[in-house]
Amino acid sequence: MLAYLARRLILALLTTWAVSVLAYVVIQLPPGDYITSYIAQMSASGSFVSLQEAETLRQQYGLDKPIWVQYMRWMGMVMQGNFGMALEWHRPVSEVIGDRLWLTMAVSGAAILLTWLVALPIGIYSAVRQYSVGDYVATFIGFIGLAVPSFMLALVLMYLGFTLFDMNIGGLFSDEMALAPWSWAKAWDLIKHLPLPAVILGLAGTAQLIRIMRANLLDELRKPYVVTARARGLSEWHVILKYPVRVALNPFASTVGYLLPYVVSGSIIVSLVLSLPTVGPLLLRALVAQDMFLAGTIVLLLGVMTVIGTLISDLLLMWIDPRIRLEGRK
């Protein structure tokens, strides 16, 4: 068991390193560099940069060096816990991400919670009452939730929110609270703003989860052990919740690996549309601006989260499912 764990850990480290190299190379692939995109941005916004200024900036940021030198420099800094300066933001990368990380986790956490709270009961219900009116309604809504692009839903809800309820457009705080230091009032302000993004982010996931839950549970319900349990005279809900539901939950454990990076990045497109101050839009911006320190660090963070998530889900599966545990021993 320990050897297994150690092997997985070493592999995880190697994967993370490979991710960092790949991330760096991919970010550098498009032609030009941060200065090119900076010049482009300036000229598109009615300002300008002279040739001399561009060259000075390039030297200042070390962009005139070959890519592998830049990578080694960056890695050297990362090893010491310094992720460099975010070029566009002129602040340390750790601060820029740190600002947004907690908010991202709050939004994603709320979305995941909502998804599970809604999807699991409905999934169970529509499996147990297959082909009932309720099942059809849930299926119908579920498919609509899957089919409607969430950014579109975000735009529509935001416009309706403004025209019907005079709500704030986008963001996670009201204007007065945005600058205030953390307090209960500010936390409450955040909680008041959470439902809209949580619903939008959660909807597609909910629909998907309902379908998976329903299908898994239907498989299990037809198995002989359920019939046996019923024959033994266990109450109907006891039969369903105690055994088939537990087994049907199995696939969820294996998706923990994807959940973790999602929690730290959030959904890029929806966050962008709703103007949520989360990590997703930050990543997009950094990529467009070719800010390799910021983009590299976020991609690295996502990589690490995926690796850790996969590790956790492997361990979880081993723990839940004896069959996997036994194969591991062979």
């Binding site: 498009p30 482009a40 300008f48 940069v49 001399q52 000075t56 300066m85 600002d99 986008g170 549309v273």
Partner: protein, 691 residues
């Protein structure tokens, strides 16, 4: 506004515009005729464009107020002993502004939207009265600003400026000629900070110098005549653009700096180790990057400034907040110290849709930046309910979507040959239906024409040059193309290459995310060119890739706005290929020009060469002669059609103004131009909240 159009009137216009967009791909001919049939009523745009107006400076010292008043928030601080009284803060020779409508009230927070740390211009353009000289509200007459007066020597080799007596930095330290000398000697001449001399501070390729006469008198000197220099001091240039704008984002220009504050970060005034240590302690990799951060007004709330508002919460956070400068040099005619508004709060919008929707929802009090012309219908629909007004400020530049033909193109000799043929370019230009473009993408509020600037600009070669070779004439275009040897066509009616390699295909390169939708415009031009048998391929790319391809001389024709070209000598980049950073008419030519022939490759076209030579001669010419030179250059540019103009003189760039009804002293129309630092020429310090 008395001239509000009804909603129906507007929707009709919008429907025509939208219909044009939808049908453009399939049926260009049909939409063109539909628009032709439209009744020539007053357009919505004309009704939203008011009279050009603005506040004026009182230059007669006898009329200046003798007693001063201040904002309640400052009066409290004076009472608490934290600030000296207002008489001690305002200069003995203040800048006296006569507000547009009335003396204002103090107070309020001006809410705006911005798009992040790259959007410094959003705030810069509001606080630009820290420029040495400035323009009046029309954008044509040079006015005092930080400098009270200026005098150019008869030989044009020097300009002497007088500063305002008793003027102070935002921390109360006197602002004197020493701050200019400090910038010149310790920053501009410091190779670590400014590695090469700046063209804005040169005459005939030789750098100028700054000399102190006394505490309030500074001289700018050159070895050769530089009559342009007064305009440079007033323009949005590296030397006259003011500290806020020019000492920002890595730049170290602006002609003056707060010596008493900046000194502590320079190795010379402590030691290299000390400066490095300070930088490292603050998390920077060296003193150079640290000092650049320290002199950036948007990043550093501690920096002493001369602007009406100063940063209290920096730009690299979700809310950029500015607060009044208690030492601002401006007062109104009643002696109230400006600005009237206490605070400016800009909230980060992660994307432009959200920013525009927030403007619609009344979450901004005054916003002219990032508001899109295409959103005009939505803005108008909600203005009564939400309580704001929409005002359009047309710009002075000729064309918001300009087809720049690469005059140094080589990769495909056949294409290069045609791009370098005058009649070919003229034919392309006459094959464009500009009215259709205007109706579709400018909601009909632009003006069709060439690249030449507005007639209201002294550089304008005259109204006929707005039309020359720049109106739809399919017959003449076809005749020209047949004449130059492109008469052979394929089965689909497209002209063939003369080297036998099939159809003649031109590449139209566009960039995503411009103020007007260049890609869609190019697609419509492609449809229009079918009638002259020219095949175009539209290639949209991300902005940096767009410029990388231009820099490596790969583009055939690139679309970009020609904003700024209305003040040709202050911002020639979009009119002539002479700045290698952005030379859409050919990077090798710009490199050749900038290096005096040492690098790059000069043009073969004699008229382009003569335009470039005329440009080079302009610095040494007096104002009226300089106007003539500019007019001659524009005549060449329009006659040769190196750059093909489409629709301009429009509010598409920073000209769609959403104004809350609560605000006073807002002009019906303001000059919309880079050199006028719109909206700064309207003196935002005089804007106020009515009751």
């Amino acid at each position: 506004m008395a001239t509000n159009p009804t909603r129906r009137e507007f929707l009709r216009d919008a429907a025509v515009a939208a219909g044009g967009a939808a049908l453009a791909g399939a049926l260009p001919a049909a939409t063109a005729s539909a628009q032709g049939a439209k009744a020539p009523e007053a357009k919505i745009g004309a009704q939203l464009m008011g009279k050009l107006e603005g506040p004026e400076l009182v230059l007669d010292a006898a009329k200046w107020p003798k007693k001063f008043a201040e904002a309640p928030m400052l009066a409290e601080m004076v009472k608490a002993g934290k600030l000296p009284p207002v008489e001690k803060r305002v200069p003995d020779e203040p800048m006296v502004v006569k507000p547009l409508q009335s003396i204002g009230r103090y107070g309020g927070t001006w809410r705006r939207g911005f798009t992040g740390p790259g959007d410094g211009e959003n705030g810069n353009r509001i606080v630009s009265t820290d420029k040495i000289l400035f323009w009046d509200y029309t954008g044509t007459k040079v006015m005092p600003c930080v400098a009270k007066e200026w005098k150019q020597s008869d030989d044009g080799k020097s300009v002497t400026i007088s500063l305002r007596k008793g003027m102070k930095w935002s921390d109360g330290t006197p602002f004197t000629a020493n701050d200019f000398v400090f910038w010149y000697e310790e920053v501009y001449l410091n190779k670590d900070l400014v590695p090469t001399a700046h063209p804005d501070f040169m005459a005939n390729g030789k750098s100028g110098l700054i000399r102190k006469v006394d505490d309030t008198t500074v001289v700018f000197e050159f070895q050769d005549p530089n009559f342009l220099f007064v305009d440079i001091l007033a323009g949005s240039t590296a030397i006259g653009g003011g500290q806020a704008t020019q000492a920002q984002a890595g730049r170290g220009m602006g002609a003056y700096m707060p010596a008493h504050y900046i000194k502590q970060f320079l190795p010379k005034f402590s030691s290299k180790e000390e400066a490095e240590k300070k930088a490292k302690a603050a998390g920077f990799d060296g003193w150079v990057s640290y000092i650049r951060n320290r002199w950036d007004w948007a990043m550093n709330p501690e920096l002493p400034v001369l602007t009406p508002w100063k940063t209290v919460n920096p730009i690299n956070t979700p809310t950029w907040v500015l607060e009044r400068n208690p030492y601002y040099m401006g007062v109104d005619t009643a002696g109230n110290q400006l600005p009237y508004i206490d605070r400016i709060s800009m909230t980060l919008a992660e994307n432009l849709e959200v920013l525009n929707l927030r403007a619609v929802a009344g979450q901004y009090d005054l916003q002219e930046r990032h508001t899109a012309l295409a959103k005009l219908p939505v803005f108008l629909e909600n203005r009564v309910k939400v309580g704001y007004d929409v005002r359009l400020d047309p710009a002075l530049n000729g064309s918001d979507a300009t087809l720049q033909t690469n005059q140094a193109y080589e990769a495909d000799p056949e294409i290069a040959k045609w791009l370098h043929t005058t009649d070919f370019r003229r034919a392309l230009s006459m094959g464009i239906d500009r009215d259709q473009l205007n109706e579709t993408f400018w909601v009909g509020v632009g003006t069709a024409g060439s690249v030449a600037p507005s007639e209201s600009v002294p550089y304008s070669p005259g109204p006929e040059w707005r039309k020359k070779w720049s109106t739809l004439d399919v017959k003449q275009a076809n005749a020209l193309l047949d004449k130059i040897g492109l008469g052979k066509k394929d089965g689909e009616g497209y002209r063939l290459r003369t080297d036998g390699k099939g159809r003649l295909r031109l590449e139209l390169q566009t960039s995503a995310g411009a103020f007007v939708p260049h890609t869609q415009i190019a697609e419509m031009i492609k449809e229009q060119w079918k009638k002259i048998g020219v095949q175009a391929d539209v290639k949209e790319m991300e902005r940096s890739l767009f410029f990388t391809r231009v820099a490596s001389n790969e583009h055939q024709i690139a679309l970009w706005a020609n904003d700024g070209s209305e003040v040709l000598f202050l911002f020639p980049r979009h009119a002539l290929p002479l700045d290698p950073v952005q030379a859409l008419l050919g990077t090798p030519i710009a490199r050749w020009f900038a290096s005096n022939g040492a690098q790059g490759k000069g043009p073969k076209d004699p008229r382009l060469i003569s335009a470039l030579e005329m440009y080079r001669s302009a610095n040494g010419k007096k104002t009226q002669e300089r106007y003539k030179v500019a007019q001659e250059i524009w005549k060449i540019l329009v006659d040769e059609q190196y750059s093909i103009g489409t629709v301009g003189l429009s509010p598409a760039t920073m000209g769609v103004r959403i104004v809350s009804n609560k605000l006073g002293n807002i002009p019906a129309r303001q000059t919309n131009a880079q050199h006028a630092r719109t909206p700064c020429s309207s003196h935002p310090a005089t804007f106020f909240y009515k009751a």
